[in-house]
């Protein structure tokens, strides 16, 4: 078997894995986003975030696993950071945020996995450190609803089903919109109207399908997924209502990450099997 053939087979195997599939699906969204936003606007920040993440992660992986390995997790982190961060940010802001995301993955971790979703943690930190804006352009907010919603749902359901996190997604979306709808009926509808329109709807779907379902930081058992999804939704809603900051969705997932890490640690101490 030639070297080229081996590489081709390795690539085929990689793109059958959840990470490989997710990279492909995000690539589909990127193509659509480029149509809406313009390639010239997007390529520089995106290349910066992906390259910076890969540059940081590659030597770490080499050191940890004693062999060279494609930094697929870093590429995903870079893509997610780039697709959420405003394309108007300087390229180096995206690069620093993305590199920090990968580094934080190795800093805050339990025995089995990283505690926080790296992209979410770095994006929240970027809001305070760089005053960086989050536009969620990867969620296709500038495209027609007839394109953006079907694209997000199709790609999102595919990957969520593949990693068996649909209950997590549905629990989040159900509680999320239940809370906002209740708030609309109880209080002033104008306060929560944003949650039901562009770009927040697309951002919520992108978040639920592609960030919330991150396998290392999300629960496996359905019961735990339901609890986690509800918690993430509640914290996101509370952050929206109390702080009104742009990272309200990401604040929710960070809370869910903490709860999941605590649950794993608690079960590990009790000698019960831990689903990582």
């Amino acid at each position: 078997m030639t070297r080229v053939t081996r590489m081709r087979h390795a690539a085929e195997r990689f793109f059958r894995t959840p990470k490989g599939i997710l990279i492909l699906l995000l690539g589909v969204l990127l193509v659509l986003a480029a149509v809406g936003e313009g390639v010239l606007q997007l390529w520089r920040p995106l290349v910066a975030t992906v390259a910076a993440a890969a540059v940081v992660d590659t030597p770490i992986l080499r050191w940890r696993k004693r062999r060279w390995e494609f930094p697929s997790g870093a590429v995903l982190t870079g893509l997610l950071v780039g697709m959420v961060l405003s394309p108007h940010e300087p390229w180096y802001v995206g690069a620093v945020v993305s590199a920090a995301a990968v580094a934080l993955k190795y800093v805050a971790r339990t025995r089995s996995a990283n505690v926080f979703n790296p992209a979410a943690l770095a994006l929240v930190a970027a809001y305070y450190v760089f005053k960086a804006g989050h536009s969620w352009w990867g969620a296709l907010p500038d495209m027609s609803l007839l394109v953006s919603i079907p694209a997000l749902v199709a790609t999102g359901v595919f990957i969520s089903h593949r990693v068996n996190k649909l209950p997590l997604v549905l629990a989040f979306l159900g509680v999320f919109y239940a809370l906002f709808t209740a708030a609309a009926f109880v209080g002033d509808p104008a306060r929560v109207a944003e949650a039901f329109i562009t770009p927040d709807v697309q951002a919520a779907l992108f978040f639920a399908f592609f960030i919330l379902t991150d396998p290392p930081t999300s629960p496996t058992r359905y019961r735990d997924q339901l609890i986690c999804g509800a918690l993430v939704a509640a914290v996101s809603f509370a952050t929206f209502e109390l702080l009104g900051v742009v990272y309200y969705l990401l604040a929710g997932v960070l809370a869910g990450n903490v709860q999941e890490a605590w649950r794993r640690a608690h079960h590990a101490r009790g000698g019960r099997p831990v689903a990582a």
Binding site: L170, A190, I197
Partner: protein, 266 residues
């Protein structure tokens, strides 16, 4: 949503869950539809349209409170025909003949900056020309000279680099009426990402300070931190558009407009 033995959601459970999510979203969407439409309209109603509304407010105040200029001392055109510099693209160009009259001004296209329409009753024509200052230098020393008297006059507007030279020829503004009443005024501006409260301080009829007092937007107001000084330097709410923070910039603009309207109407 009980787990199926196979580890996957059953189609019926999945369908019921999706239906529940859609039902919740739909109920909220219907409930907030009117508010969302207002948000969308506010967002799409950019400055040129809002300018008209502002102009209507300002016109009422201008033509009801500003005294007519005396005969023989016609008001000098406050809008310079010279090419504007640093003027926002959204402001329509306002051609004004060198001998424009008050009647002429009533026919002018809307201009945002109230400061540009200050008349100097009884003052020589040269004094009026001093009012044609550019926004960039409105806060400069030339304007300060105009306001040295006890009855300060609000100067200018349409940005022109020649304004500094004009300032040296400014006449005593004894009978001039300030465009704004002195004091500190607050205004709110709204966009789909929240609201911004801004404060302007008027001294001797001029904007001497502008600041963001409350930032209620979901994005950091640091993005538009350069805008308040522009309000002072231009003596106008016409601030730059901020790429990537256009809605926050608009909210700030509306907040300043509201504050200045209060300063005018006090």
């Amino acid at each position: 949503m009980p787990p199926k033995r196979s580890g996957r959601l059953s189609p019926s459970t999945l369908a019921a869950s999706v239906a529940a999510v859609l039902l919740l979203y739909g109920a909220g969407f219907i409930r907030t539809r009117a508010a969302a439409q207002r948000l969308t309209q506010d967002t799409s109603r950019r400055r040129p349209v809002n300018m008209d509304e502002v102009q209507q407010v300002l016109d009422v105040a201008r033509f009801t409170t500003v005294p007519e200029p005396t005969i023989g001392a016609p008001p000098t055109p406050v809008i310079s025909a010279a090419p504007a510099f640093a003027a926002p693209a959204s402001v329509p160009p306002v051609p004004a003949p060198a001998t424009a009259t008050v009647a002429d001004q009533t026919n002018r296209p809307p201009v945002v900056d109230e400061a540009t329409h200050v008349f100097v009753p009884g003052a020589p024509a040269g004094a009026a020309s001093a009012s044609a200052h550019g926004a960039e230098l409105a806060a400069g020393t030339a304007v300060e000279g105009v306001h040295a008297g006890p009855a300060p006059v609000a100067a200018s507007t349409s940005p022109t680099p020649l304004a500094a030279a004009d300032a040296g020829q400014a006449a005593p503004p004894a009978a001039e009426k300030p465009k704004y009443n002195d004091g500190r005024y607050l205004g709110w501006g709204y966009c789909r990402h929240g609201q911004i409260q801004a404060a302007v301080v008027i001294e001797h009829g001029r904007i001497t300070s502008a600041e963001i007092t409350q930032c209620g937007t979901r994005y950091s107001c640091d993005w538009i931190e350069k805008l308040p000084p522009q309000v002072v330097s231009r003596q106008s709410p016409e601030v730059d558009f901020v790429s990537g923070a256009s809605e926050s910039a608009d909210a700030f603009y509306y907040a300043i407009v509201e504050a200045l309207a209060q300063a005018k109407g006090k």
